[in-house]
């Protein structure tokens, strides 16, 4: 069944895939630090959405689409317009290339994330596996 992006069920599906991914668990075994993915409006999407993904030692304890007035404190936020997220999830834009070229805007401890590029890649790989209704 396809999940709408962005939505609560979509980010929960990501969580489930991460928790079943051996390669993610290996590559992120020491990682501590939650993310909020901010989906910004553009010509394809009119709203702003916030997807919270908890990440701890190779697993994802929780995931939810959250209310902008009640955002949890996270170590990282990653912002991009809807169409850019679509390119990333469809595998048409490498997330590192996206960050380096400013298409994805990262806030948080850059040094720490540079130590775990493979974990970031595994998250994107899980996102790409989710049947998505755009």
């Amino acid at each position: 069944m396809a999940h709408k992006f962005p939505s609560d069920e979509w980010v929960k599906a990501v969580r489930e895939l991460l928790n079943n991914s051996d390669s993610y668990q290996r590559s992120a075994k020491d990682w501590e630090g939650d993310f909020i993915f901010v989906v910004e409006p553009d010509e394809e999407y009119a709203d702003t959405a916030y997807l919270h993904l908890e990440l701890y030692h190779g697993s994802s304890p929780g995931a939810a689409m959250v209310d902008p007035d009640n955002l949890p404190e996270t170590e990282y936020t990653l912002n991009a317009p809807f169409s850019t997220w679509r390119k990333v999830i469809d595998g048409k834009l490498d997330p590192i290339q996206g960050m380096m070229t400013g298409q994805l805007k990262l806030k948080g401890n850059l040094m720490k994330i540079m130590r775990y590029p493979k974990a970031a890649q595994e998250i994107v790989a899980c996102c790409a596996k989710i049947p998505t209704d755009w």
């Binding site: 490498d94 590192i96 290339q97 996206g98 960050m99 380096m100 070229t101 400013g102 990262l106 850059l110 040094m111 720490k112 540079m114 130590r115 775990y116 590029p117 493979k118 890649q121």
Partner: protein, 566 residues
Amino acid sequence: MEKLLVIDLTEKSYKVENIDPEMARGYIGGSGLSARLLYDRIKLDIDPLGPENPLMFMTGPLVGTSMPSAGRCAVSARSPLTGFWGESNTGGFIGPEMRFAGFDGVLINGRADKPCWVSVLDNKVKFHDAAPLWGQDTYQTQDSIKEILADPKARVACIGPAGENLVKMAAIVNDHGRAAGRTGMGAVMGSKNLKAIAFRGSGKVHLADPAGYKEVVGEILQTVKDDLSAQAFQLAGTSGYVDMATMFGDMPAGYYQVGEWEESSNLSGILLAEEHLIRGTSCYRCPIVCGRETRTVKYKVDKVDGPEYETIASFGSLALVDDLEGVIYAGHLCNVYGLDTISTGSTIAMVCDLFDKGILDAEQTGGLEIRFGDVEMSHRLIEMTAKREGFGKLIAEGSAALAAHYGVPEMAATVRNLEIPMHDARSFSGMAPVYALSPRGACHLQGDMYGVDLGMAPATELGIHPGERFENSLEKGQTTARSQSWRSVYNALTVCHFMNPGASKIQRALNAATGWDYSLDELMLSGKRIFSLKRIINHNLGSTIEDDRLPEFMLKGFSTGGYARF
């Protein structure tokens, strides 16, 4: 670009020449202008280590100004390592100081009858006896000369024992650990009995349009603040790329024959920062601060310059070494002896491979078992190479010569006799033509398609867009060609490749500094002209289209690792 200091070491004399303004405009400076000035002199019959091989130090038109990251200096000659066009460039402060001392470039001819060094202090040139310095390492030499000149702010470019002993991969070292490492320029300097050249000046660089220059430099500085790759280099130096390079398969392992080597993780630049870093260091007016000053407790060295990513990969993963402190110390030994870390590390890794395959054994190496994973052996071999002792004599000739000596030239990871740097072309396909066509032999500074495809070095106004890294297409080839031209401009400007504010800002800075009226198209044409001229020099030196290829074994794919899709 006006004043060229021409030194004759044979006669111990010098003169000042004016550079033809049209030539300066057409070839800009750095290695571009050097290629044009040396074109008539670098011929097939000259010995790279003979007095007739001219050695050129050349700055660029933005060097010594407020332009950030534009303090580099190119060094060029016929390479004793490759036999072809040789160029290397170094950061630090030596380039700006040369201009403050009154010269845009220095051409060194002839050969001194005994070791000497030269000081250039505010237009005053003096020859000194280097007998007391001969045998000193590069750090000692720099410190000794500053003491002799009674000026701690003098900038010294010098050779160490490797250059004195004409080791083919000898570097010229300045500002302690900054080096013009590639293509053996240190050996050329050693062949001239020139231990060092020191600069100190109080002059200023003239700008054609100071107000316009200030404006564009302000804009450029602003782009650095927003540049994520610049931030990453500032946080972790070039070594911060280790984890990402491993993931992409860009950082080679086991002499390019191991597809996935997870131990690379132990060489992480983040670990380096957490456990060994003293501070970040920068070149002249550089806000990026990618240099690292580290320490190693295990080897009892309190101050090491580096290691950079290339050094970590050359002495680390390429030789299947995951001992970070051992790698730090290997880099330090190369700095003090005056050796190029890429060529030295790569040649040692090749020897490990020859041992592994049974082509070499201990009988041929004076009893040494040279195996992958043995960093202490690398340390020993570095010293033997610098001193040309025992088996070190063969390593001192470089990978191509060593492999040919044992009848296996196909086993050297070289292009045009220069060791391939630590970006595997199977990870970023654009690097394959970059290496194959690069005028100085395999080189990641003659076009950096790995950086382009990572999004770190795009120049979208010039059609240099990030793309899919495994793409093999006409479009990728065209992007690569544009990247080669653009980086030829950078190498002529002597601007660091980590400074990428956009092509038009570079163009505006160049025009404001010089009064020239370059359009972007014409600037790219200059890049093509420079790139082509260097290849013509190689053609004159006997290079053919047969040299424009990578070793066969480096075109084989792997089933695992970051380049499994190659």
